[in-house]
Symmetry: D2
Amino acid sequence: MEGKIKKLEQLLRNDRFANHNNIRLISFGNGEAVAELTVSEMHLNGVDIIHGGALFTLADFAFAAASNSHGRIAVASNASINFFKGVSSGKLTAKAKELNSGKTLSTYTVEIADEKNSIIAFFSGTAFLKGEY
Amino acid sequence: MEGKIKKLEQLLRNDRFANHNNIRLISFGNGEAVAELTVSEMHLNGVDIIHGGALFTLADFAFAAASNSHGRIAVASNASINFFKGVSSGKLTAKAKELNSGKTLSTYTVEIADEKNSIIAFFSGTAFLKGEY
Amino acid sequence: MEGKIKKLEQLLRNDRFANHNNIRLISFGNGEAVAELTVSEMHLNGVDIIHGGALFTLADFAFAAASNSHGRIAVASNASINFFKGVSSGKLTAKAKELNSGKTLSTYTVEIADEKNSIIAFFSGTAFLKGEY
Amino acid sequence: MEGKIKKLEQLLRNDRFANHNNIRLISFGNGEAVAELTVSEMHLNGVDIIHGGALFTLADFAFAAASNSHGRIAVASNASINFFKGVSSGKLTAKAKELNSGKTLSTYTVEIADEKNSIIAFFSGTAFLKGEY
């Protein structure tokens, strides 16, 4: 399992879309994961708040790390997100946790919090489990 | 209304997250919109297919243009996305259309198609309508 | 395939929750299905409009018929629904159609219309495909 | 506020669709609610497991009680549900809790557990807040 975790970490570090948008993986393992994004100019939409796509990407990255953490390849099938509050700056933290892990599908929730630990968005996603990596 | 459309177009052109990720608005108006993304290195995840966050952002941008096209500010409340097929290259087109437009909420669907016009992802989103811009 | 369709029809006719709530299957086949519900006292919530659960059940029944129509057992994995308009009477028609059918997952949309053919709710659902029945 | 809670309780007790399907409200208040359903013949689909619409209705009823518990009328705008496990008997408990409560929209999650306290379905819903009742 240790070798697998290392392999998964390499895959996640090689996520060019996350890197291009300054989204960083903080930790992952046992069906959980934490990712961070510090809001900057590149993340803003036309009305100067963080783009919904940036929030989704942050949550989705944490979801990918958590759902792949059991040693099997997990591919996102669908996801939904609720936006509660628009922010323009600060560090955002996404925490993924496992709701259910079945034979072929697993489901996770991700809360995105601002620096005051207020939840600004809520994500849930389901992944399809393939073979081992 | 013409002045409003011009103002909206400026806001959308000023979407720095869309620009940073090479997502372009092709057209919008009357509750519809089209946006495009040509997949490149920056959009890929760790297993070399387009990141779900890039697909979401493409769809969300079309949704934003369509939902704001009636002259009132529309703020995304929630959205969901289904992923059907992973792609690694080519031009992707997102077409948003209006399902319902009420006094305070409006709902849109967005289909993302590849160059062969095969639907690779399906998005639906609900926006909260505020005052005029 | 004909024998399978007959078997599926028996299963759907044996849906006791649909029967208990006066939801009728009108037609199904080739990834599509139509179901109907005529609103009566039993479907109302505390403020005298049709319960969201009744609308969901109507859409879900059409989804089940459509997603099982290819000869393989399809089990709902997740679904979402948008409510546009509250109604208190009349005949409602749910039409399911296929968005995508993969090896292990398939996705459908369902529109619920009132007698004036106005869309009052929109549903989308994903099913997991098991063996043949 | 006490009078309002009494009024709300009457509305919820008058939910004919919940009553018709033997769904009972156990408690509600302060953005939370609990509802129960004991699976019987009427709740089963064609393959003898509880219908997804019955699970949705159970969760939606808890969501309605929780989202209306602050003294303002809350109308469901959209909801999504994940199904983890099919069950055929036993008592199911739905617990709603508040994720976010804004000026015009509020969002809740509902977990449905079986008698062993295993989560068999997960629901999230957003309500639009109208005037006081």
